[in-house]
């Protein structure tokens, strides 16, 4: 990780991209007429913190899976610096048969770190998320917030230049979530890692992101984009954050309203057919 800290400033040139998506589309099976994602263009600069926001059905998790290389794209291309990105999920997905330190050591081992270094490196990563005392605890002995911090340490152990986060704090209580927002922001500033953060929580996006990207739903397209110049550390209660959240929410509601109109249209059609049938029956 120290290596990344040293390298990060020099790598942070404006022309370079940590993640570049060009015309990315995704559909499942052969339904190319019903894509989940449709022609997404997105460039994330090295060290940037980008929040992807959208209602359900916008394919934001699908997008992360594509960037993580867990699923193939149907069309378009994705480039990630270093070739791979670390991924964090909503549930911590810590391996229950390993301790907190064991989970991190496995990530290090799979990265090819020697046995002697693994232990000290795992300790260092745990102290980075302030869980020095939890090294020997198992997932079920930790609270939800602590689990996510271990998962974050495990993701950092991968030493990828890009960190993908799929609603990592969605299952946490508001107090813990708020604290982890601060934690993540501090870690991001410290390590210079590039973050692509998916959420359906508007305030969270406004609190964390340097850039917020709103996706439309079915199919997922980039609907609008905000550059957020509020300096970190921000607080979720900050007036500027609330102001932005309000603006984004309005836009998001407009996106969602479109679907209500669509549903209404198909609804009236359906009822029309029904009335015809009842007439026929009568």
């Amino acid at each position: 990780m120290t290596v990344t800290i040293d390298e990060a400033p020099s790598a942070r040139t404006l022309t370079e991209a940590a993640v570049r998506l060009s015309g990315v589309s995704k559909w499942f099976g052969k339904e190319s007429d019903k894509p989940v994602l449709d022609g997404i263009d997105l460039t994330v600069a090295p060290g940037e913190f980008v929040c992807l926001l959208g209602a359900s059905g916008c394919g934001k998790s699908t997008l992360l899976n594509l960037v993580a290389g867990l699923d193939p794209v149907s069309a378009g291309s994705i480039e990630v610096t270093g070739g791979r990105a670390a991924l964090m999920f909503q549930e911590s997905a810590l391996f229950p048969w390993l301790t907190a330190a064991g989970n991190i050591e496995l990530a290090l081992r799979l990265r090819g770190v020697g046995k002697a270094q693994r232990r000290s490196e795992a300790e260092r990563l745990l102290s980075l998320v302030r869980l020095e005392g939890a090294a020997h605890k198992r997932a079920h002995e930790l609270s939800g917030g602590m689990r996510q911090r271990v998962a974050l340490a495990r993701a950092l152990a991968q030493q990828a230049e890009v960190l993908l986060m799929d609603e990592p704090f969605a299952a946490l209580d508001a107090i813990t979530r708020d604290v982890l927002h601060g934690e993540l922001t501090a870690l991001w500033q410290e390590t210079g890692v590039t973050v692509l953060f998916v959420t359906h929580n508007v305030r969270e996006a406004a609190r964390l992101g340097q850039r917020v990207i709103l996706l439309s739903s079915r199919p997922g397209r980039v609907a609008r984009e905000w550059r957020v110049d509020i300096p970190q550390p921000r607080r979720i209660e900050d007036a500027a954050v609330s102001e932005l959240a309000r603006e984004i929410t309005d836009e998001l509601h407009q996106e969602i309203t479109k679907h209500a109109r669509l549903a209404q249209n198909s609804g009236t059609q359906r009822s029309g057919i029904q009335s015809k049938e009842t007439r026929r029956n009568g």
Partner: protein, 329 residues
């Protein structure tokens, strides 16, 4: 150990609460008046204490461990009581039946006398050793064969479609049913006995492994892949540990089936060349109308079956479930 962590946690919790109450009013003042101070650092340390407080609150309830003697009382006492009650009822039945004279029922004392008296002459000690030895060999072979079959069936789709129903079917078939075929093919030899043991245990172990593999949450495999575990690494570091609980319960059942099948086979396939076995002791008891010895043999079979389960499989399973937070205790 448990005490240490408990005091550490409560200590850090107090620190955090003190800090929070102290900083409540002053925190705002500080940020408002002294903007020259490094804001990030201040925020960092406040974040740290806040987080320590949350962690302490979240884990305060954990860490109370039951004393060993209470574990002993709750685990050991009930089966001991059950055993004593059973022996009591048994003895009572004997006392009541002694005068009716219709059905012979030896008492616990008679069985004990019969076992000790026959220990030398009927070579019960050697018989127990022989049976356990056969069961161990048969079970070990079953684990190897069952694991290979289970792994193949779980991973190869056409094979699964073809073989999985057969495996469940074999679990229903009493493996004694293979004794006649075994004797016709191999004669009354060890091969017959091992065939029966294998056919009894292999399906359970294979099915257990398949179940275990099927129940691996897909997210673990995705995480494994993201961490860089591919091919054999994925099997070794993710798939096998994740499937272990199902596999172990399959082995536990496999042992029960192996032992049960062995007893049935020994009871039927008897030959001087085979050496003694608990099943043969039972057959000897039947031929000599020695009811005490027959009941004694059953008790020996029970003790070995339960004993090996309690010694090996139950602790292993308990440990697996406890470390994963799946057991109640």
């Amino acid at each position: 150990m448990a005490n240490e962590t408990a005091t550490f946690e409560s200590g850090s919790f107090e620190d955090a609460s003190l800090d929070a109450s102290g900083a409540g009013g002053a925190g705002i003042e500080r940020t408002a008046t002294t903007t020259a101070k490094p804001v990030a650092d201040n925020g960092q340390s406040r974040l740290a204490t806040l987080e320590a407080g949350l962690d302490a609150l979240d884990t305060a309830a954990a860490g109370t461990r039951r004393p060993w003697w209470r574990v002993l009382v709750s685990r050991v006492l009930p089966p001991v009581v059950a055993l004593v009650v059973t022996l009591g009822i048994w003895d009572l039945l004997v006392v009541m039946h002694v005068h009716s004279g219709e059905i012979m029922l030896p008492g616990p004392g008679d069985v004990w006398d019969s076992l000790t008296a026959n220990w030398g002459p009927s070579r019960i000690g050697a018989a127990i050793w022989d049976s356990v030895y056969r069961a161990a060999i048969g079970f070990a072979a079953s684990v190897v064969i069952g694991s290979v079959i289970g792994l193949l069936v779980a991973r190869v789709a056409p094979l699964r479609a073809a073989v999985q129903p057969l495996l469940s079917g074999l679990q229903n078939l009493p493996s004694v049913a293979w004794v006649p075929i075994g004797i016709i093919w191999f004669g009354v030899t060890s091969a017959t006995i091992y065939t029966v043991v294998l056919l009894g245990a292999v399906p359970s172990i294979a099915v257990g492994l398949i179940d275990g593999l099927d129940r691996v949450p897909p997210i673990y495999l995705r995480v494994g892949r993201n961490l860089g575990a591919r091919g054999l690494d994925s099997v070794r570091f993710v798939l096998i540990p994740a499937a272990l609980p199902g596999y172990v319960s399959g082995m536990k059942q496999g042992w029960a089936f192996a032992w049960r099948s062995l007893m049935a086979a020994e009871l039927i396939a008897i030959s001087p060349s085979l050496g003694p076995g608990v099943g043969q002791v039972m057959k000897f008891a039947q031929d000599n109308l020695d009811l005490s010895l027959a009941i004694g043999s059953i008790i020996i079979i029970l003790i070995i079956g339960i004993g090996i389960n309690q010694l090996f499989f139950a602790p292993l399973e308990r440990r697996l479930l406890r470390t994963r937070g799946l057991s109640r205790s």
